[in-house]
Symmetry: none
Subunit: 480 residues, 2 copies
């Protein structure tokens, strides 16, 4: 069922107002991974809660307790649970989003202040940290609510919202909340939910909308080598002592090959090759090697074959070295021997890989390789966080509704994709609620989530808001 | 020739006055590496100039021009050139020191205010920034001058002083001054100088005085691998593209082995093994593996053999990996694929190694290894700065004088050491003036120059002043 024309018109007419609201959200630097910004994450929860309430949503802020990060005990930002509509004749859609963001500093290489939304009139880009990940999509839902409230339109479904503030930092506390609420059955917050819709990923490219049925999982490791009790001067101690950086860099070099092959024994073996039906999906995608080159700005794909490259993201595991904590990182030349250095790396995993299978393989391998170094330094390896991979039934009515909504707004078939990233809560919802979970992205593949100059295109924000609203009408109408 | 007893007595009798003067010097925060403190560096030059003049030294403050630091144009602090004595029958000794200091903030972890000299009566420590590096040694010379002036004793040698205020920040301007003055031959400031004495390094330990005849040189490299034009999300692009961190870490792992061996072909080969005579010097040093363990706080020496360990610092090249610019370096977990990453590493070099020999070996090797990776990323390698190593003839009369002076004051043989670090001006004096240069340290190995709670022991300040004075008598008397 198409959304009412007045809904579509309202979204168009109020675009600038919606963008201004996105500016308010971006201005709150709700970085969950940096303790100094924790008050901002709370500020963001209060802001979002206020918005929801003003649009008629009944909310509760659930205290998720405390956690320890970098040796500091911090309060976890609350989960915001919201509900609007309780008509037993309507389907109930659970919407998830996260109001925290990745770290960003102008000095990282941003062209503009990351926490000030810049509207680039020429390109139509809305530039700022969180614009596409995940404040834009959350605000898309607010736009839908505002349209219905202002126009006096009844919502076509009952809505439940679950917004968290720790997604970029392991979604701490949320799983327990979801599990305890689902354990309460129909009395719990998720009682009666028929399907889940999550808008927290991206189109494959910058042209074709998509819906997404798979996600890679993740295991994020911190590999620490410690030696002296303080940083040393390389002039005084160079070639007298085992240097932690030497050991760490050598260990990190043994994790992944330049061609992307994961060198930890047993990790690659778990994954079987794609069959013909699966390959056909990848062949059909509106996608080329050129798209990747354009997105990254350089011709650096691991292969020149389209299907190999896209399978690298969608159905192969990957290992990335993110950086080193504790070493010299500034510009210029500092002749330090760092006392303790921690390599950060993560493995993206696909079915049937699980963190439980991967973690011991990595730990055992790293310890074996470290033993070979005959170093007197100390090794420590930790799993900082992890999440299982997920694949959904893309023939479900929830997907059919999303397909129809996309066709209605964008007048084209969406790509059917799997994502290379992880949104662990997807799996929690799928497993705990036992209902179909849909990923319905708003932004484009070149948005630069987690990167410098993150943006959301104005048209994606506006048309995307229409898709979200239309999707609710399609869910309301479709025969389950 | 022993120094007159009245000189020794004067130093003992006036110890508290000398310490008070050191307090005055420490109270001026002459941090050359921080533009905000530049006026203090000038203040320090005026203070030192006043002291020298009041003690009968003819001085000139040489304007070294301006430089740009952190985008700001700043006047360089003057070099202070001082002269006292012009007796053609006496030898002429050139003394070098620096009146600038390293940055220090109480919040760095100091137990006391860094720019207030604290006299710890229990331990005898004089604690404060610059106490040992290099204000204490400079004031040692003032103490010698004051003793002679007050007692009406003639100095046993002609003295020339060259004090600079930019040593902690690259000695900018000084090399040019030294070269232009030496180019003027006997008419230049350094005309007639017979030897040089620099007191700007440390004993090997906290027990035994030393004299130092060698310094390692340095070549500092920046190795950059660049791929995408911006940072990428590892979920989106992991296993689609060549990741710069993968390439860089692999290259860095091929530079140095965990046992300290430099893996760049040709670098180690340049250095011949120590012969028996040289090994005997290291055997004789008052030094143990325990000393290194104590200094670094953990039992991490590369060898359990004392001579191997000390040769690692004194006569072997070393390669240290300092860190990576451009990668994730903060706490927590960030799933970034950094777009461009620069590994910083440096090689400490010893004769006959020179930057001119080492640089092409490193560049060629790194380029060859990078080619083996079959990566589509781009490589760049730069030499950020370098300095040649230096070894003096420790059988020269200048060293013999220092040895006798140390024996007279401390009643023991000094250790004969080479330093692992570099003091570039040493080489400039040696090469420009063509005379023997001696390093005659005042402080102990645990003084913490460049670190928090920098100190100079009271006994090192007082006995060290006696050593400097006695050294002048020995130089005056020795048959050149
Ligand atoms: Zn997100
Ligand atoms: Zn994210
Ligand atoms: Zn110094
Ligand atoms: Zn220094």
């Amino acid at each position: 069922m198409a959304a009412p024309a007045e809904f579509i018109k309202f979204i168009d007419d109020n675009a600038n107002k919606f963008i201004a609201r996105l500016g308010e959200a971006v201005a709150i630097p709700s970085v969950s991974g940096n303790g100094a910004h924790r008050p901002d994450v709370f500020k963001m929860s209060a802001w979002l809660d206020g918005q929801l309430k003003s649009l008629g949503v009944t909310t509760s802020l659930v205290d998720l307790g405390k956690h320890v990060m970098d040796g500091e005990e911090l309060p976890l930002p609350p989960a915001i649970l919201g509900r609007i509509g309780d008509d037993p004749k309507k389907k109930t859609v659970l919407v998830y989003g996260h109001y925290d963001v990745q770290p960003a500093e102008k000095s990282d290489g941003w062209d503009t202040e990351p926490f000030k939304l810049v509207v680039d009139e020429k390109t139509g880009r809305l530039i700022g940290r969180g614009s596409t990940d995940d404040k834009g999509p959350i605000l898309g839902w607010l736009n839908v609510l505002e349209a219905h409230k202002t126009l006096g339109l009844p919502l076509p479904v009952n809505l439940r919202f679950c917004f968290e503030g720790m997604e970029e930092n392991g979604s701490e506390g949320l799983d327990d909340l979801i599990k305890s609420e689902t354990a309460r059955g129909n009395d719990g917050f998720f009682g009666g939910v028929d399907c889940v819709c999550i808008s927290d990923n991206y189109w494959l490219n910058s042209r074709t909308p998509c819906i997404t049925y798979g996600l890679r999982g993740l295991v994020y490791f911190k590999l620490t080598v410690s030696g002296p009790t303080r940083d040393l001067h390389s002039g005084v101690f160079g070639r007298m002592v085992h240097e932690p950086m030497t050991d760490l860099v050598l260990l990190m070099s043994k994790l992944v090959a330049p061609d992307g092959t994961i060198l930890v024994p047993g990790v690659e073996d778990l994954v079987s090759a794609a069959d013909e039906e699966e390959r056909a999906i990848y062949e059909k995608l509106d996608y080329s090697v050129e798209d990747v080159n354009d997105a990254v700005g350089a011709p650096i794909t691991l292969s020149d074959d389209k299907v190999t490259v896209i399978m690298g993201r969608m159905r192969m595991p990957s290992l990335s070295l993110h950086g080193i904590e504790g070493a010299f990182y500034g510009p210029g030349a500092k002749t330090v021997i760092p006392a303790s250095v921690s390599g950060k790396f993560s493995i993206r995993i696909v079915p049937p890989q699980t963190p439980e299978l991967i973690e011991p393989l990595v730990i055992q391998y790293v310890e074996q390789e470290f033993a070979k170094l005959n170093s007197k330094n100390k090794l420590k390896i930790e799993n900082l966080h992890d999440g299982r991979p997920w694949v959904a039934d893309y023939k479900h009515w929830n997907y059919e509704a999303a397909r129809r909504a996309t066709q209605a707004v964008y007048r084209r078939d969406p790509d059917l994709t799997r994502e290379g990233g992880s949104i662990p809560v997807t799996l929690t919802f799928a497993e705990s609620l036992g209902v179909n979970v849909l990923l319905l992205p708003m932004g484009r593949g070149d948005d630069g989530a987690h990167s410098t100059n993150e943006k959301l295109d104005r048209s994606n924000f506006i048309e995307g808001s229409k898709v979200l609203g239309t999707y609710l009408y399609e869910v309301g109408a479709i025969k389950a």
